[in-house]
């Protein structure tokens, strides 16, 4: 694999094996990739092929069994838990398949969650979130409890949360799973506008409507934990 000096996300021979009891499951095997800054890439593949695992590895949510992940020139693989958490907050915004919002909290509280350990949102962050809420058409829902929101609204809320710390990388797991065609189009437009701001975006999907969009920078295909070229 060519080492790209300007790659925002770079992985070298990543492997992940899950162990449950005596059974070992190879979820990912020798995956290498490099995604340049301000590009929009898709990871596709059938169910169980390791897409979510790859995304979690790239975002520093789990440690790889083998290999290394470098984000914005900094390796996050050999960091201790403490610094890996900081990398998660400052470098990566992650949107989970189930959105990972905390029920019982309002949307605004959920959005500001990443900022709590540093003392809560400052004026800049409030400004940014206000603008994002307007832009995503969510301004009316800031004080709504998240469990009252529709799936689409929740997803947009999760995206706003992923952007609250102004991380340069945005990762989304199955962003179109709950959306109809019209909403898929809106979602893609939105992600493209984020790319236009200079953010690097990686999303997983097995959705044709997404993989066949001509405006993407590239599509990676995973089959049984291996990258297909």
């Amino acid at each position: 694999m060519r080492t790209d000096q300007h790659a925002m996300i770079q992985a070298t021979s990543l492997s992940k094996r899950y162990r449950s009891g005596h059974v070992e499951k190879v979820a990912l095997c020798q995956v290498s990739l490099a995604i340049p800054r301000a590009e929009f890439w898709i990871v596709s593949g059938p169910s169980g092929s390791g897409k979510t695992t790859l995304l979690a590895l790239l975002a520093g949510m789990i440690a790889p069994t083998e290999g290394e992940v470098v984000l914005d020139g900094k390796s996050i693989t050999h960091l201790r838990d403490h610094h890996r958490a900081l990398a998660r907050r400052n470098l990566v915004g992650m949107v989970f398949q189930e959105f990972a919002l905390v029920a019982g909290m309002t949307l605004a509280e959920n959005i500001f969650l990443p900022l709590v350990p540093q003392g809560g949102p400052g004026e800049t962050e409030r400004q940014r979130v206000r603008a994002l809420l307007e832009r995503f058409g969510m301004a009316a829902y800031a004080r709504t409890q998240v469990e009252r929101l529709s799936a689409g609204e929740r997803q947009r809320g999760a995206i706003i949360r992923a952007l609250v710390a102004d991380a340069p990388i945005l990762m989304l797991d199955e962003p179109t799973a709950a959306l109809d065609t019209e909403n898929v189009r809106i979602m893609v437009d939105l992600l493209l506008s984020l790319r236009a701001e200079g953010r690097t975006i990686v999303a997983t999907t097995h959705d044709r409507r997404l993989t066949e969009d001509p405006r993407l920078n590239g599509v990676l295909r995973l089959v049984d934990g291996r990258l297909e070229r």
């Binding site: 605004a108 949102p121 206000r130 809420l133 301004a139 004080r143």
Partner: protein, 109 residues
């Protein structure tokens, strides 16, 4: 719009914490007042102790047998130490069996 302080939750907590604090302060003040009243009654208490020479409060079981530890028998079994006075020769939370009192009664006649 996004400003949430003080949220209803926080307000609820503040109210409850305030209530508890007020309760604690009231308790401590009440205790202080009662202690002052106790101090005020010290001359009377000392007079009574001088008069009676008793050490024990006239509280239930102990007072049946033990108004004064010097009257307790030394070397009672199961005491905390062989040299120490038996600190609870009666020590029951329930009354003795009726039969024991009947026996005493007839003995006296």
């Amino acid at each position: 719009m996004i400003r949430t302080w003080p949220s209803p939750t926080t307000r609820w907590h503040l109210a409850w914490a305030g209530l508890l604090l007020a309760g604690a302060v009231a308790m401590l003040v009440d205790a202080q007042v009662r202690r002052a009243a106790q101090q005020a009654r010290q001359p009377e208490v000392q007079s009574v102790v001088r008069l009676l020479g008793v050490a024990d409060l006239a509280l239930s079981s102990s007072s049946r047998w033990l108004r004064h530890p010097s009257i307790a028998e030394p070397g009672a079994p199961f005491a905390d130490g062989p040299a120490i006075l038996d600190n609870d020769p009666a020590g029951a939370a329930i009354s003795p069996p009726r039969a024991s009192e009947r026996g005493r009664h007839s003995e006296r006649k």
